[in-house]
């Protein structure tokens, strides 16, 4: 499967390469994360207890409230944050937060990206591609 590429509808930020944390679940910095310990803290989350620092998070949809718009910026300032966010479906808060934090994010695929990328796979995310993409390496 190495080299397989999945194109997204939109993207922003810089090209990154890292291991993927994959789950068919949502993402909200406020609802799901302990940002001090850099782990998923909501017990019901499928990635509960796992560290997100330096990982490409491949998840289903942006969830929850507006706080993520500030929290991505705060996480970047402390240098403890995911490498990128790859979502089937985005909401405006994730886009606004990524824009402020200069955070790498791509979204919108013609398949369920959480089924297409294996947990733990090494991936490259290039939001500047035309179109933006995630690639298995």
């Amino acid at each position: 499967m190495s080299g397989k590429i999945f194109y997204a509808a939109a993207g922003m930020g810089r090209k990154v390469r890292a291991k993927a944390l994959v789950a068919s679940d949502g993402f909200s910095a406020r609802y799901d994360l302990d940002r001090v310990r850099s782990v998923f803290s909501r017990p019901e989350h499928k990635l509960a207890g796992q560290t997100y620092h330096g990982r490409v998070l491949v998840l289903d949809a942006a969830k929850g409230g507006v706080a993520t718009a500030w929290m991505l910026h705060e996480m970047r300032a402390r240098g403890v944050m995911p490498a990128a966010l790859v979502l089937n479906r985005v909401n405006p808060i994730m886009v606004q937060g990524a824009a402020l934090a200069d955070f790498t994010m791509i979204s919108g695929f013609d398949c369920d990206i959480t089924k297409a990328i294996a947990y733990g796979a090494e991936v490259e995310v290039d939001p500047s591609g035309e179109p933006p993409f995630i690639r298995l390496v």
Partner: protein
């Protein structure tokens, strides 16, 4: 503005909005009349506060908002911070954030119920609101037009007087995408919150617009407040319709896109029981009771005071309201009645936006009862085990030293 002729802050704001608008497919901008900023310091962090402060050194004319711009709850009630065991660094950070926002000309209203207390938007009015509960209520019940505007984007809208025209500013995005047939009767506010949570889960993302049919009585503002806040929280949903109730759904046919058949889902009594049971598992007692998220209206405060009359809470009981409602509660004796029963009235904050994890560690709180489905959804991530009960059941638990009555356990 892009050339910097109105200063670097407005230049940053318009570039931020263009970046967001490009990602989300906005063709142009739409003028907005109000902005509402979510910016508690738990989410801002030191970095966010320092970022705000960096702009306050600009000349006054280069940093003032152009339209009325107000704020969501803060991370503390300074008058009660000691009781909550919040630390001095939290309060210092809050003071710095407040000073920065005031330098922008932002009105520190500190409320998530501005649609009940400040200036409710009217049908068709384009606004830039933060707080998902504010957006969904304003879109659905008032018929206003807003997307979820996070802090940086709401501040940008305040500074530029416009926002990218995408999502719920567009007619085509406001049609129903899912019909929900309701066969149960929500009674308590917690039931309306549970219904919002169930519908939010069914809908599942920001693009979805659920339309409810089968609602037998016209819900009141507090019922719709809990319903919408929970739906937005569980599903990231920003607009709903209720046939015959909300302004864009006075006829069932109004809800439906022309020539299309929408998916239909049924919700009955069993769904409510399953929703509530999910949060009551294996919890026989709670450490505190919290009424918050959204802040309580004057009518909710009145109900709470009535239920607490002659009672005594034996564990911490917090009622969180807005700085606009609190003076009326004081003047009308509601605060005194709640506090005579051992409760604490908090103003201008929201429980989950107020360093909830640190408060839990400092106070030994773990198990929390509330009538807010939204709070139940959020607070688990902060290390709490929440239980969703009616307001009356919450009070029973508080007055029984935290012990939950058998009927509230699954």
């Amino acid at each position: 503005m892009r050339r910097g002729e109105f200063g670097p802050l407005r230049q940053w704001a318009i570039e931020h909005q263009i970046k967001v608008g490009n990602y989300l497919g906005a063709a142009d901008f739409v003028p907005v009349t109000q902005a509402h900023i979510m910016a508690d310091t738990e989410s801002l962090g030191r970095a966010g506060v320092e970022w705000l402060e960096s702009w306050t050194r600009l000349p006054r004319e280069a940093r003032q908002v152009r339209i009325p711009t107000i704020t969501d709850p803060r991370g503390t009630d300074f008058a009660q911070a000691q009781k909550l065991k919040q630390q001095s660094w939290m309060l210092d950070l809050e003071r710095r954030a407040i000073a920065a926002f005031e330098a922008f000309g932002v009105l520190m209203t500190d409320t998530c119920i501005n649609y009940q207390t400040i200036m409710p938007p009217v049908r068709g009015e384009h606004v830039a609101y933060g707080d998902t509960g504010v957006v969904i209520y304003s879109n659905s019940v008032c018929g206003a037009r807003s997307n979820f505007e996070g802090g940086p984007s709401a501040l940008s809208a305040g500074l530029t007087g416009r926002t990218p025209r995408y999502g719920y500013h567009l007619d085509g995005q406001r049609r129903a995408t899912l019909v929900v047939e309701l066969s149960a009767k929500p009674c308590e506010l917690s039931d309306w919150g549970a219904l919002g949570g169930i519908v939010g889960r069914l809908a599942g993302d920001y693009s979805q617009v659920p339309a409810l049919v089968g609602v037998e009585h016209v819900p009141g503002p507090d019922e719709l407040k809990h319903f919408g806040a929970a739906m937005a929280s569980f599903g990231s949903v920003a607009l709903f319709h209720i046939a015959g109730v909300t302004p864009e759904a006075m006829q069932f046919a109004d809800l439906l896109p022309q020539g299309s058949t929408l998916p239909r889902r049924a919700i009955g009594e069993a769904d409510f029981r399953a929703f509530q049971a999910r949060y009551a598992r294996d919890i026989g007692a709670v450490d505190l009771v919290v009424f918050s998220a959204p802040q309580l209206s004057l009518m909710e405060m009145r109900t709470l005071a009535g239920l607490l009359d002659g009672r005594s809470a034996e564990i911490p009981l917090f009622a969180v309201t807005s700085p606009q409602v609190k003076p009326d509660c004081d003047r009308l004796g509601l605060t005194a009645r709640i506090e005579a029963a051992g409760g604490t009235v908090l103003s201008g904050m929201c429980f989950y936006q107020s360093y909830a994890r640190e408060m839990a560690e400092a106070n030994g709180w773990h198990r929390l009862a509330t009538n807010s489905a939204k709070l139940v959804n959020i607070i688990g991530g902060y290390g709490y085990r929440p239980v969703l009960l009616s307001m009356e059941q919450c009070i029973e638990a508080a007055c029984a030293g935290g012990k939950l009555a058998a009927r509230t356990q699954s």
